[in-house]
Symmetry: C2
Subunit: 426 residues, 2 copies
């Protein structure tokens, strides 16, 4: 893939406008930011017809190109989805503003007052796929955290994204904030993503959101810092000391409540005790009732004898992200074996244990290396809203800068602030 000089110059010009906007955004007050978020929400509702008209054109073009199913569903907007988008902006307006907050204030022995002040990162580039609501969500989180957003959505949603970005831009201008604060990259070819990812002098952070293919493309081509949101291969380990009813409810919920998302369970790790106790059979039957197909190792398969939803697992089922009503099942003889399985096949996303044994729970919490470790609850709680961050920009599975859901605070940095009365170093 080639970035022509013309494309590079055009993308640079657009991202420079975003960089320029950061100067004004850095000193925007909370009141200003909330006012513009409210104005944006009102404008999205008032001009919903424009958005829906553009969206019909996107959907029609996608259908003509043969697109069907879930992809088309993610692309499609309707009046209630536009209202939800506006509601999302109002939710962000209500979140506390992290910018300017002083943390870890202390006075040094020489009298220097030292603190750390939350500041914006600068220019945050979002590279995403079909869902047009990301345009509004990402813009709102960036704006509230004082960052300029550079947005590069999917080609198939370009008309919808332009309509949304244009409405948000008008709202910025109306309150006297620079339009560059929300910059939708004009070019729709993939080379434009490359051009953004190479602007090390202008872009502070790139966040890819979408399928694994897009994320790998961004990670492999970026020269700017990237926070990765790779796949979620989440496990639930049902320990020998698990409460059976609790384990059943958690495992069914983690798998079936919304199987297509990254914090759904993909593999049940079950202590052998539950194969003989009858618990696993009960689970397998309940799973069948929810339409879940099981890919079992030999001991588990034996315990499912006669059940039509169980079949033998192949090696590739472990570590797979099904995003569907399919579940791998692994039998273990001890906690250590469960921990080893998670190290080998987990994706550092969300790992849960069900147990009444406090020592086992403690080991799980301390030893499992994942963005969210859970005791006696569903994996589905690894979500910015559920964990109390208010809203999220995605879930980071790398440890640098952010690990887990990224809320407003994860879109900031901290600088040291030093106040003296003439102190010098000797």
């Amino acid at each position: 893939m080639d970035v022509t000089e013309e494309l590079e110059a055009s993308v640079r010009r657009q991202v420079e406008a975003a960089r320029q906007a950061t100067v004004r955004l850095r000193t925007a007050t909370t009141e200003e930011k909330n006012a513009v978020l409210e104005a944006m929400a009102a404008a999205l509702e008032a001009r919903a017809a424009e958005i829906l008209e553009a969206n019909v054109a996107d959907v029609t073009a996608a259908e003509a190109a043969g697109t069907r199913g879930a992809f088309l569903d993610r692309l499609r907007l309707d009046p209630s989805r536009v209202r939800a988008m506006a509601g999302g902006l109002r939710d962000v307006a209500r979140l506390p503003d992290p910018i300017g907050r002083l943390e870890e204030e202390r006075t040094r022995p020489n009298g220097l007052k030292v603190a750390r002040m939350r500041i914006p990162l600068g220019v945050v580039a979002l590279i995403y796929e079909s869902r047009p609501n990301v345009t509004a969500d990402a813009a709102a989180l960036c704006l509230k955290s004082g960052n300029a957003a550079v947005l590069r959505g999917g080609t198939e949603a370009v008309r919808s994204n332009r309509a949304i970005a244009s409405i948000l831009g008008d709202a910025l201008e109306a309150v006297g904030l620079p339009r560059g604060a929300i910059t939708l990259i004009e070019e729709t070819d993939r080379a434009a993503i490359l051009a953004v990812l190479r602007l090390t002098d202008l872009v502070d952070l790139a966040i890819p959101r979408g399928g694994e293919g897009l994320i790998r493309f961004v990670v492999e081509n970026a020269r700017v810092p990237v926070i990765q949101h790779f796949k979620g291969v989440c496990h639930v380990y049902v320990d020998a000391a698990a409460d059976p009813d609790e384990a059943l409810a958690i495992a069914i919920n983690a798998k079936t409540q919304r199987p297509g998302v990254c914090n759904a369970m993909e593999c049940l790790v079950v202590h052998r005790h539950h194969l003989t106790s009858g618990w696993f059979r009960r689970f397998a039957e309940a799973a069948a009732g929810k339409g879940v197909r099981l890919r079992c190792d030999p001991p588990a398969l034996e315990a499912c004898a006669g059940l039509e939803n169980a079949e033998a697992a192949s090696p590739s089922d472990y570590g797979a992200e099904f995003l569907d009503l399919v579940l791998a099942v692994k039998t273990v003889d001890a906690l250590d074996e469960a921990l080893d399985h998670v190290v080998r096949y987990g994706s550092h996303h969300t790992e849960a244990i069900v147990t009444e044994d406090a020592a086992a729970a403690d080991r799980w919490l301390k030893e499992v290396d994942a963005s969210c470790v859970v005791v006696n609850a569903s994996t589905r709680f690894n979500d910015g809203g559920e964990l109390g961050l208010g809203a999220e920009m995605g879930i980071s599975t790398t440890k640098m800068h952010a690990y887990g859901p990224m809320g407003l605070e994860e879109l900031t940095a901290r600088k040291f602030v030093v106040m003296g009365e003439g102190q010098i170093r000797s």
Copy 2:
């Protein structure tokens, strides 16, 4: 530069040992870590002769290769420097252990207990130049924060580094911790650095320490995350409302107390008021007494008439990191002009204002984008020890993950910890 298959395989094997060590390090207790730090300190002192002998060989070889001056001084060890190295290890042992600490504990409306737990990053690679003490300092900070250290020091210090690393490794083994926790890369050619920087599956973070050339080499070639420590072009702005005596003491200290380091002042920004008040002339004379040569813009040069240490600045003097008794001087008519100068020529390192005007101080703290912003104190305070972090791994001038001095906490990440009683999502 080419990484041969043989080199790649050898470096991978060494870094895999470090990765393997992280499993044990993750659960090492504070007591274990402190005990090994104390044992390391004692071993460095007891076996100082081995280190000094190796160091003599390094210094002799460097001299034979024509090396002189500051470079040779940084390379050279003596008994007191070895004692200082041991003392540094004991200092790290006394620092609070961030690992396992629970932060932001909260209970969600559904009863879930949520917190964030400090965890190690994993494998931290240090790429550094001549000073052999970095080997012990970096190993100690990594160990205390539960990380495995992969160390690649300068070729000229390889004998000293091997002696130090071997002593530290023996101490690890003596307490039952894996030797891989401190892994000194054997190969001394620069291609070995490249090989380390490409191990995205094994290395969590690379930190370059040294001259700008080394840092650029690492940043441009790394596929693993890098925290950059670029140059320090630090300004002191003497505002119209500065206390004259305080301003004089701070400016002289920032320039002359240790001119060769990154938090020394490189450019004095002076309000025009002080050219006519006589303050600047007084400063120029004091600077002359300390051997400082001034590179002045026309108004400042005029105010120095007759002083032998003042000459006209060339455009390249602004933004230059002299690391020497040389100072650029820029005259401004207002705070805004000073802020603009810092935006244009600063390096996001340390920026100080001297003023009695609270509004000017407040604007400086909020608007200047630097890892450390200072009011009425010397720039020399941007240092982990001085700011209360205890010790530092260098000073980050990028905002991702860490901005400013990196202490133990900056070598950690935080995972979400969720404790439930059977909660599921509806």
